[in-house]
Subunit: 97 residues, 10 copies
């Protein structure tokens, strides 16, 4: 099952710069693993913003939530999750996911 | 260059049912061609809505606008275009686009 | 998998009263069947509005979209779909779904 | 009488991590008791967010407010309360509440 | 139990002037009866708008919805219902309801 | 002249707990006096929130602003003021104000 | 007492061009009279829009609503009314109203 | 040329009470001078809020911005500027500005 | 003086296709003249929408409003006008306007 | 390729005054260089606000994001990026970009 996420970085006021950088490093390694496991299928930076659109694959919203809430930066992210269905024209696309 | 589109179907009040169906058929054939040409890279239905997220590839916003404004249903669509940049973690993803 | 839906009745301008009533009757029968099949798990009227919160169960957003788009009143509904995960305190509730 | 709540966790800036965890523990025990007393009938995590939809039963909005304002995390929650009425199709649902 | 309503008049496009006036007359008689029965406790026009704030009393949201959905103008009204609880300072007020 | 107020408690970040409680005590005594003088005619808690709807009587918006800006908690309140006119059906209501 | 109004022209869909022009003529004469009576104290066009900011004087919101609801174009206007109080610096201004 | 401003006081979190009061005194003197020079033509308090509507006169938006950005409280204000044109009925008003 | 406009095409429901095309032709000729007179300094299509950002030059908002309200498509446009001031870094730009 | 940016200055709460001024100086020099390289084509202050509209030229959203994220004030800016296409009337404008 696929989900489109709109993710904005919204650091909590008390987060210091060093802690932020350390979290970011662990976060990026963590996300790279999720990408290699094909939980994260695609991720695109929104130009001009600390934000992305990303396409995730999970057995259920349950499984997705477990993955997201384990992200090192989770308390500093605002996430909107849109559940997706197959589009009738999706089969014609290179990225049929 | 990549663009994420959020597209909602918003038929104008005077559009009759038959005309809508005829437009839809031509629209779908047109979009399928764009998919085969890899202008449309991916398209996903938003569950519960007459709407989609779709990922488009074009040389410029110029070229993208030309493609979109030629869609048979264009006057009946509401489209938000988000220009995308490469995400540092995108290279780890199956759908690197 | 569970989804919370917020559904508002938003009839298109050209829908006549009689057609609306006929659609409504077919819609209600259709929804009652979905309830008996436990696709629709619960539905609650929002006081003062032609709207409801409803809890749906489906194997995927795919399956949910198929069910929703087949509803007789689908073109006259505005639907927001929220994918749900188990809440740690859900197990204490009578309606654990 | 039933109420649908949309609850988001929005900690006040001065809340420290340790205090937050202690409040959370007391809060969860408190909520579990409310669930066993059938004041809280159902609770579902919104995927990707520190938020839930929850279904509450109380004799009145008066009684509901008393329950909510006694929650250990109440000052750190944003709560929207929607009063519910029976839906004509509710009787067909497993979770008739 | 008390509810504060914000009610806006939003006539559907097909409603003719004469029908609107006839509905309005029946509506006003109907509402006057609800006022004399103390279902409607108070109603105040929002200056400059076809809208009101009104204070309603009902045994439950269930009962309130039944009353509202029977109003002759119900399909032409947009209604927001806020469930109310006793305010600690309410007892000092002339209109303690 | 009557005004409907929607008042939300929005403490400024630097307000400490003790100061908040001291302000609250003075605020409540102050508001109780305004109620006994029939400046505040009615006040109702919005269920689940630190907020109220309240009905105020003043000779003018001028006089109302003077009253509100003298409230001990005024810098920590968000207030929307709606000026009211007599509703044609108001005379049938118990709370004719 | 003074009120600032934000007024947008929002003709109902069934209003024909001729009827609109006739209403407009009567409306303008009516408003000019209100200006000469110093009920309307000032009116300024919002550049680029069929909208204005206007400053009105009335004994009460009651009186203001009576004036506004008698405007020939009233059913085709969207009006936001902001009640005003004297500003401490108002006395230094040429337009002290 | 005329501009309508909607100005809200939104102090930045680090602004202390004493500094705020000192700024306010200087700000008020500064604004009074602008009023006597007929740059500020009128100012009205929004009842219940730390906000105003104010009418400004300047040769251009350029000149207006210079005036506004020199206000002692400028970093603590949220300002919406609406450029105004003469209204056909303005000539009938006492405050023709 | 410069203004940035955000202009969206929002045809009124009763506008027929032929009339729309005729208006569009006259509108485009009219706008081209305004461009040659350097009233319209620049215009850019918003990709994917029937909308533009455009930069206008006029002696005042008065003069701008006169120009805009004479556009053949004016009743079918939604226009937001932002008054501009010189930016300190503008002098380094090729399009200093 | 062209982009219209709406940029608001939104300093993070922990940013001190001195650091802000130092960042601002470096930021302005940096932006001036981008203007001389014709990456930034035009920039206009929004009157009354710490905000601008600016027109940028880049080979892609990719290249634009690289430029923007290297701005010294980037973490303290809120940026909306609108991708632009040529407008049919653009060729008549002095600022054809």
């Amino acid at each position: 099952m696929l989900f489109m996420l709109n993710v904005r970085y919204a650091p909590q006021p008390q987060l210091g710069d060093e802690e932020a950088q350390a979290l970011r490093r662990r976060h990026d390694e963590h996300v790279a693993r999720l990408a290699r496991q094909e939980t994260l299928l695609g991720i695109w930076r929104i130009a001009g913003a600390q934000a992305n659109y990303s396409l995730w694959q999970a057995d259920s919203a349950e499984a997705l939530h477990e993955v997201l809430s384990a992200l090192p930066l989770f308390p500093h992210l605002q996430v909107d999750v849109t559940p997706l269905a197959q589009h009738p024209l999706g089969g014609h696309c290179r990225l049929s996911a």
